[in-house]
Amino acid sequence: MSLDVSRWTIDDVQEALRSRRASAQEICAATFARIATENPKNNSFLTLTEERAMARAAEIDRKVTAGEPLPPLAGVPLAVKDVILTEGIRNTCASRILGNFIAPYSATAVERIEAAGAIIVGKVNCDEFAMGSSNENSAFGPVRNPHDPERVPGGSSGGSAAAVAAGMAVAALGSDTGGSIRQPASFCGVVGVLPTYGRVSRYGLVAYASSLDHIGPFGRSVKDAATVLAVIAGRDPLDSTSAAVPVPDYLAALDDPVRGFKIGVPREYFAEGLGSDVRARVESGLAVLRELGCEIVDISLPHTEYAIACYYIIATAEASSNLARYDGVRYGYRTPESASLSEMYRKTRDQGFGTEVKRRIMLGTYVLSAGYYEAYYLKAQKVRTLVARDFSRAFERVDAIATPVAPSPAFRIGEKTADPLEMYLSDIYTITGNLAGIPGISVPCGSVPAPADGGSSDGRKLPVGLQLLARHFDEARLLRLAHQFEKARGEV
């Protein structure tokens, strides 16, 4: 029987290499065999990099044979969201406007995982320019949830989450601007981490909303996500927003006790709108934390109800500015039909961008336009201060905060596309973390029955995540808590 690596963790890869049970090339080949059977079902990969991956795997095998020390991600098959540049590889941002763009350099996060021995197997699908909550806004078709092909994987990093959930990569990189790592992690039953703003360099991440964008890891376990985070975290002179804060040893502290931790449960996150099945799962998760010796404390984050309005002003304003660079001049798509430069700009952008991207450019341009700046953008920035202050006050009393990740499990493809506002509202529990710039994690918290909404998927189980949030740069505590939660909960 051929090698099956579809449930392997990073430790499994390392152990196999050290014991010579499998070579990096065999692990890599087994991963591409898995991709060949699974990817047609869920459309996660936009570009496969098999030749490059096999060459790098051969390099790892050479190290193994020579008895050289193996770096922390040696031979680990890893998928990268198609908004994070990898030199020489096509980077589409799931957009027609960058359909033929070859990245001229690598993101710092990519350089770091490759220097740590990871094998990039391909670039994965997402919502166009990371704008969406369902992966339905891709110019290359939606990703399907590995737990139910009629449902979305979440978004925007849907391909990253689905690739890890379907065993097509051991880990993945994604980006999170309003929940785009945590929500798909929840929908696909994997672990996803939003690092603190400034923890991971964004050099080489195609910008969507610069004051809210983060790069972070996905894994099938908290330990795997922690291992990847440890590799990509830390100051990078190429990103002036990356912080010169030391990176602690996340792995060393994973098993330290969590007894006595105070966990805040914000009552606003359990109010109207939260599905009853999801609520029950999250409450059972809180019981697990209690069994671990944590003290559960009722807290209030009073400005929660303003977070979505605040976010969709700030994010779209920044997006309208960041996306002004796509004009058909230096790279990407250019309309074949234009008589003048200004017509070329307009037609290129109209033909190159999808509807949601245009919607956000329109909204962002509107709120920044003359006469509206103070009423919308400045107002939203002030409300952002209030949202962030809610968290800093809460963290004076508690060590971490526990909440649902999303109000529902994965919804059906097409279910929310008619009303953009309804789609935006589903981001309520994750957007606040980006506004405050604090770290968060989605860790699997069991499953719920698929809602009886017709179709063939009734009776299936859908995963649900628990979100944990912590103070700025307190990822170590977050990962430790999540790791022990994961162990204590077991497979439910």
Binding site: I102, S211, A243, D327, L341, F353, R359, Q381, L386, G437
Partner: protein, 99 residues
Amino acid sequence: MRITEKDVLYVAALGNLELDAAETARFVADLDSILSYVEKLNELDTSAVEPMAQVLYDAPETLTWRDDHERPGFPQEKSLANAPERGAGQFKVAKVIER
């Protein structure tokens, strides 16, 4: 309706987007609904609140300054590699002077 077709066409021009009739109609409705929703921010008195333009945490002010060393940029060939149209070492575009 607070947003009119005229508003949408004006904003589209600012954003260098050429919308067709169907998109224009859709964005009138979408922008109207989203902008009505964000009105709720006006329930909050923020007259004494500082705007948050950056994520702030406890750190020295010069934390992220770096030394001003020169470093190599992209060579011309690499810079032009993704150009839709190029010539004589430059990006080529359509006629700039329109009249």
